[in-house]
Amino acid sequence: MNRKHRVPLAAAAGIAAAALAVAACSSSSSPSSTPPSSSGSALQASAPGITPTSILVGSHQPLTGPAAPGYSEIAPAANAYFQYVNAHGGVFGRKITYRYLDDGYNPTNTVSVVRQLVLQNNVYAIFNGLGTPTHLNVVNFLNSSKVPDVFVASGCDCWNDPSKYPETFGYQLDYIREGKILGSYVKQHFKGKKIGYFYQNDEFGQDGVKGLDYEVPASQVVAREAYNVLATNPAQEVGGLVAKMKAAGVQVVVSFSIPAFTALLRLTGLTLSYSPTLVVSDVGSDPITLSGLLNTFAKKSGSFGSSLIQGIITDGYLPSLGDASNSWITLFKTVHDTYIPKLPFDGNVLYGESVGYAFVQAMLKAGRNPTRQDLVNALNAGNFPQGASVAPYAYASGSHDGITGAYIAVIKNGVLVQQGDVLVTDVTATGAVTPYMTAQSAAPATGVPSP
């Protein structure tokens, strides 16, 4: 029986590779904190995580792993804004301590780190937990433990379910509304043209397509191509889909894709000498991220990437980074330059600071000595002040969606240039897409919202 010794190496190599894969996916975490300092008078420890001098909030964030590029800037940016607030008197005198742990975008790790934050660190709330598949794994736990779960960093409409998830609130424009807003623009500006959808085959892409279908006439849509985000060969996957759209004569491609796939879509078009008009969802169109990816994928440098994204149509629910005179951009640039100068001032940092601002607003509304329920009540009460977002929030007892609208924008010279008015809508099939004419108020001079 000497034939026994042949298989071992292959099998052993397989196991070793598997072990390495586990190692690469294993959990890790990274807290960030500012030491509490004493100030304030009649303040009490009114809830877990709240002391007379500090507020402890927690989050799960992809600091390592596939979603880390770009997204790992969000929590440091929110924390930078908290440090700014702490340096300017805090929230009713309390300083915010933001403890965000790495889940590597792996849902199993999300479960562990969120348990640690809630059960061991006793955080007051989970704030801005990032990702749809990751956060879906903890939303039941947070709601059954009655821990406020505010401003989830995902545009899934699933967070808007007040009867099932009373503690959970979205933040950014959800993908259904975004689909409707992009769809209404496409319907108006590309009459009679052949439209193709290119989208991620999960809740993100499907919600987007749902919104698009509410607006774009079905007769115009000649191709619906879904990509698998976990495809082993993404370039090949995208290549096949783009070839199909070219063959179908698609003139306008509407894309609900993450940045890497937007870049592949654009590059494949270049290879096939096929250049349809591109309409791309907000999450997949940050100009700085996109041009960087295009340069990396094509092994080019300089203006190659930025020239390829010129003219892409997208939408924005926060002020444009290119608008240097905007008071919000000025404020957030100051905070960025003071606390996190090493990070690029891009869409992710803008997002992190904006959602940090919204949290401070919510804490101020929750009152001087808030319980956990007070934070939820403050959002359920509605009339939540608009802050850095260009459109109002939907927060009310019957709606836990966040931002309700956006403006259409075109990428010009690496920044978003607003086209026309801010548009708002709802998540229903019949709700109209209407202009929102109220001008956005300027950022407060102090940089901190007033109670």
Partner: protein, 348 residues
């Protein structure tokens, strides 16, 4: 006699674990519950690989089946929790039996590949039948702490106790199977299928049985996982989970039940521990976040180099108890392509 000895040991361990769970805080209880469900599933896997010599790198699929069975039953039927857990194990065992019949025809890397496919493909049925499985959102699972413990009893401690109970029952049963005729037959066919068949063992039936036992454990582990996570979502049952189970079994020492516990302890405690050390040393978040990954890799390599028999094998070597198991665990690598003749004999 063996049964009595195992039972007595289990009762002592149960008492110690209950004391431990009362001493620690809620998060530690949660971690103990995590160790319990990993250990249950890893024990089943270690029996499959280490005793019967069949490799599965897709055991997460059976955990998936157990988790969704438990979630669906808790949602739609009002059975006692014990019945739900038992049913989850049974449903996973049936699935394991079906896979086992196919698996009995495959060997080594081919079998591993087939189980891998299962782990990758199965969770996608949740988006195919969203109405039943809840799509990407999955199903919520609510467990109420029984009334006799009082309203202030921490829910995570109850979950830890449930996990201990399931784990101890599993371990007692597996330990007995291991020492029984079946366990000896498994070892015989692991070491040499042809010789086992010649000695009159029904190779195919024994292999299917090993799959059934092992997937029943994975199903029970999966059900516990759903209870502990308070949800069953497809995102939990990634390939990573299957590979973590395999890692736990190999790190602990293939074929050793105690090894399954060691492996599970490493899975649950290593990363948070290293992170705490890293951050208390004042490392920046970008460095600190990556250190646990490095340490984990280093631990895997070191254990494999120093203790090829896993942690349990290493302990045995250091403290010189019974036969060193160092060589045994890897015997499955030595297996050859299917011996078709005796295979046919076995199934007929």
């Amino acid at each position: 006699m063996t049964l009595l000895r195992h039972l007595a040991a289990a009762i002592v361990v149960a008492g110690l674990l209950m004391l431990l769970s009362i001493k620690v805080d809620a998060f530690r209880d949660y971690q103990l519950a995590q160790v319990a469900y990993y250990a249950i599933a890893a024990a089943g896997l270690t029996v499959l690989i280490g005793l019967s010599g069949q490799v599965s790198i897709g055991h997460g699929a059976f955990m998936f089946i157990g988790a969704y069975t438990a979630a669906l039953m808790l949602l739609h039927l009002h059975w006692a929790l014990a019945a739900v857990l038992a049913a989850s194990a049974v449903v996973a065992a049936v699935a394991g039996g079906i896979v086992g019949v196919a698996a009995a025809r495959l060997r080594g890397p081919y079998l591993a590949g087939a189980t891998l496919l299962l782990a990758v493909a199965l969770p996608s049925i949740t988006s195919r039948w969203q109405g039943v499985f809840g799509g990407d959102q999955g199903l919520g699972v609510t467990v109420n702490t029984p009334g006799f413990l009082g309203s202030t009893f921490p829910p995570t401690r109850w979950l830890a106790w449930l996990g201990f109970a399931c784990a101890l029952i599993t371990f007692v049963l597996l330990a007995n199977v291991r020492h029984s005729r079946i366990g000896r037959s498994w070892r015989a066919l692991r070491d040499d299928e042809v010789a086992a068949a010649l000695s009159g063992l029904n190779v195919a039936r024994l292999q299917v049985l090993a799959f059934v036992v092992s997937s029943a454990c994975a199903g029970l582990g999966g059900a516990m996982l759903a209870l502990v996570n308070s949800s069953a979502t497809p995102g939990t049952f990634t390939l990573t989970l299957s590979i973590q189970l395999l890692t736990a079994a190999i790190l602990g020492g293939l074929g050793s039940l105690a090894g399954a516990v060691w492996g599970s302890l490493v899975l649950v405690y290593l990363a948070p521990y290293i992170t705490n050390v890293a951050t208390s040393q004042g490392l920046s978040s970008s460095v600190g976040a990556n250190i646990p990954i490095v340490v984990y890799g280093a631990v895997l390599i070191l254990v494999m180099l120093l203790f090829p028999g896993g942690i349990q094998g290493g302990l045995r070597r250091l403290f010189g108890s019974a036969a060193p198991a160092a060589a045994v665990p890897f015997s499955f690598f030595r297996r050859e392509a299917p011996a078709t003749d005796n295979q046919k004999e076995g199934t007929s």
